[in-house]
Amino acid sequence: MKLKKWQFVLSFVLLAGLLVSAVGSALANVSAPATAPELIRPDNTLMAPHAFHYLYVTGSALRPRDGAYNWLSTGSGGCIYTTVGGLFNVDLQLPEGAGIDYLRIFYYDTSASDANAWITSYDGEGNFDDLVYVGSTGTAGYGTALSDFTRVYVHNANQSLVLNWRPNDASSAMQLCGLRIAYHMPDYYLYLPGILR
């Protein structure tokens, strides 16, 4: 078989293209977009009405972020507290594209201080963003508080998410009993038939 030089070059280019497309398609599923989509959108104007879903984490499922701090649970095993201090967290997994709307904290608080809970996103390169905050209030004992509405979109290709709690008190007077996220599933565009009747 004889190939002229230009035919050889053309064949090489075509085969190289085939190779690049084959490898490229295999890698496409693990490549993240170069630019991370915006996580927080303050408006709700583009969204259709949606039903809430809930992710509810027991307080005693959190653990200190740093090994220097201790943790203890109450008799029921549901609430957690520390006698040293520190910051507690737990992994947060939600469906891709889901929209987080609220964070609710369930607590026991007879302390003069108030605790904080929030969601943080991490990009894997040392950067983070604190997204939704809520705090305990008062000294009445068991209670619950809801964050302001904050629309946060889940982008699992770009960000990991954790739930955080900081007691701001080192005693059983401040306990975390639960954190509940209200979210909605991704909005999919639905196309109705052109003729409606």
Partner: protein, 206 residues
Amino acid sequence: MKSIHFSLRTVLIALALLILVPGVSVLAQDFLTSAEPGYVSPEMAFAGSPTDPDYIAPSINGTDRAVSYYYLFVAGSALRPRNNTASWNIDSSGGCIYTNSANEIFNVDLQLPDGATIEYLRLYYYDTAAGDNRAWVTSYDGADGFADLITVASTGTAGYGTTLSPLSSVVVDNFNYSYLLNWRAVTAGETSQLCGLRVFYNLPTP
């Protein structure tokens, strides 16, 4: 213009290599072979039996098309003590956990779809101790109220084993309750280990 000579066979072989090599390298990431150290055939490792109540076979979902069955399987070493005063250690595989503090409770967060029905909890263990260890699911209401829902315990002293809880019908309610998987070893030391907890649940199909 200069000509370069290739046999048809050479061109075909080069073409085949260019197409096959990337494909093989991608597939190679998905398969482990029995030649690799530590390989355990899935069929040999606690193979599910069609007679087990929590066995999922295509025919189960086929029987009632309005319901689908699923597993949630947590490695033993994913649990942590409820109080930091308890120690914890793992076995050589990294999958089983034990404690040197007897009677301490270990837990891990349990997330299931709202409306799912938990039917069984299966305990995977290593047990050569006289005492048996125990696992269970607990729900919490956020104000210190709780309910222990499903319990299962290890049996015997034969080493690795698995036991299944009685049939339950706990419906998951994520608005009102959070859920935990718990484990307690009544015996300290590596003679009583937790190797896994598997929840068998069903979900109505939309």
